[in-house]
Amino acid sequence: MSIPLSWYLLLSVALFCVGLFGVLSRRNAIAILLSVELMLNAVNINLVAFWRYLDPARMAGQAFAVIVFAVAAAEVAVGLALIIAVYRRRKTVVADEIDLMKW
């Protein structure tokens, strides 16, 4: 137990920002999707760390992390389906080229 809680939180913040950076800078829709998943995993680190340090007696934190996994999986399934549908018609997954609607 020598590693303090704040280290985990900083790791989580760093991972979250990496994800954020990915969403803002990647052109590829799949890469954006992966970056979002990174952000969700940052949350998971947070949740598990909080659970371990603050409330190890109850399962709530862990259960929450599992729910986040499940939801993330569902999200990926829908997201990839949408990206494939777009790819079939436009032959591209570059987010910036998907700009039919603006103003």
């Binding site: 803002l24 800078s25 990647r26 954006i32 910036d96 998907i98 700009d99 603006k102 103003w103």
Partner: protein
Amino acid sequence: MLLSETAISPLFSLAPLIVFLPVLGLLLNIIFGGRMGEKAIGWLASVASGLTFVVSSLLAYGLWAAHGETVVVPFADWITIGSLHIPWNFRVDTLSVTMMLAVSGVGTLIHIYAIGYMHEDVRFKNDPKRFRRFFVFLNLFIAMMMILVSGDSYLMLFVGWEGVGLCSFLLIGFWYDMDTLGRPSWANSNAAKKAFITNRIGDFGFLLAALTMFWAFGSVQFGEVFGKAEEIAAAQPAVIIAITLFMLIGVTGKSAQIPLYVWLPDAMAGPTPVSALIHAATMVTAGVYLVARSWPLYTLAPDAQYIVAMVGAVTALFAATIAVGQYDIKKVLAYSTISQLGFMVAAVGMGAFVAGMFHLVTHAFFKALLFLSAGSVILGLERGHHHLAHHKGHEEHEGKHEEVFDPGDMRNMGGLRKRMPVTFWLYIIGTLALAGIFPFAGFWSKDEILLDAAKLHPEIFIILTTAAFFTAFYMGRQIWMVFFGEPRHEAAAHAEESPKIITVPLMVLAGLSVLGGALNLPGVHTLGHWLEHTIELAEHELHLPAWLEISWGGLNPVVALVSTLLALLAIYISWLIYGRKPLTAGQKDPLKKPLGFIFTGMENKWFVDEGYWAVFVNRYVDIARFLADVVDWRFWHDWFHDKVIAGTYVWLSHIALNRYADQKGIDAFFNGLGDLTKRLSAFLRRLQNGFVRSYALAVMLGVIVIVGYLLMK
């Protein structure tokens, strides 16, 4: 309410009918109108309006029998939330009944007139649906006006206030797709839009007044607000001033005062009965009614009162000068209406509520008369034009008669005295009443305003007297130009008199214009005593000069003589200029030369419209465009997102991650990230629009600002 349980006469339970009779009329017309002839449609609407007048009379009788005690007739629960309870009540007091009688009485006469007028309108083309629509709108207007005057709270009054605004919009744009001769044009619908939007600005003031009132008084019911007024005025005098001044913005919109009067002249695009009913006799006086109704508030804020009076007086003079330079017969009357409304607003502003209401009623009579007579003149000219075209059509080529002919332009008239004698005499009566010649109705009411002004604010007395001089002058000019001299257009030479259905309502109005002064003769003050039950007039301790102390049975000879002599003088001068040597066709206005640029200003309405357009409308459109195009798109999307934020972010990460990672080589992950950054920076140079990511960037910016704020606190 104890009163309602004990003393209420069953007569008062009729009160809701004043709203529901016209509603019934319009519903019947909507449902069955399609299968009825146009006569039946018109008479059904007129009967609905007439019955409203009968009910109003019964209410007036009931009120007289009850010695003028205010009666509140509960009708339905409207809004109840927490402490706020706003029922839909009908307030029957001497003030509201006076308005009801004027609205429904004049309204009914105009309904009947409209049956004849709309049939003759060249644009009508026997389309019964349009005919029905017109009368449905007219009935709706009566219903809304009744809601306005009978409401027992500022919110109910506001419902009517907006409702009549809507009707005004619909009726100004009635011939939305054509001009007066049936040619395609959007001028009328633009005029409707202008009226509506200008009025929204005024309504904004009204809403602010109501909100402030709710905030300060916790209620918008008349009874509660007026009951607490003195208490609040003692504690927070600024609140009362704010409410009354916000209300003034509403008044300047609805009653066409400076600076919001610009919509009213354009509103003449509507059919003439509409101009007479809505834009002369009734709706535009709603602002005057609002001030009179709010007398307990205004009496407590003398400064606000003075501003109101000054706005009214300046408007009265300003509009009168513009009227001198107009050529359209209805435009002259429109500016005259603005000017007369200025008289009323000045009167109620000075606290002379009775004088203001008196002028409101007499003005409804004679201005409706003038407008409707003007309509009769226009129809006469159209008949002449039609007759002419028909006649010549046999001899000449058809296309030649499509010359541009404006039947409302006074420069096309002249000599109509002989062609349309009945209309001529009616017009003369209206003119004398408006000019304030003894013993017509306008003389008594205007004299009362001038007398009060002389006693209270001499400077306003001087402005108003000057305005009265101009009034007589432009009316004289109109009479000479329209009815005397020789016809300046062939259509005028062949004009024909209007049928009975048009002239008979006019005769009734003419009778009222002659005798209307009897309502409140000096010394007797019938209307004054009637309104006293509702409005307590403040007693002023005044030190008057000796000439103002003279009273011939209530009439001050100095004021009366001065105003009458000035009016006669003005008519005489107008005769010198326009009557002695009548205009000939194509001749310029004889005033143009001696007055030079002053007359050009009058002709062009002192360029107020152009100024508003340049200062407000264009700027508004520019700002909207700027925000949408430059700020929201080019600045926010293209420049701020991509260049500033994304660029800086990438640049920073480039320095922080890339160089650091490359030089020290911490681990593969950071290497990869640095690599990614490098490729990204290359890409971002080529980047024009990053759409989905721009949106994500907006989200992140919001987060940064919010979290930053919370951390800084």
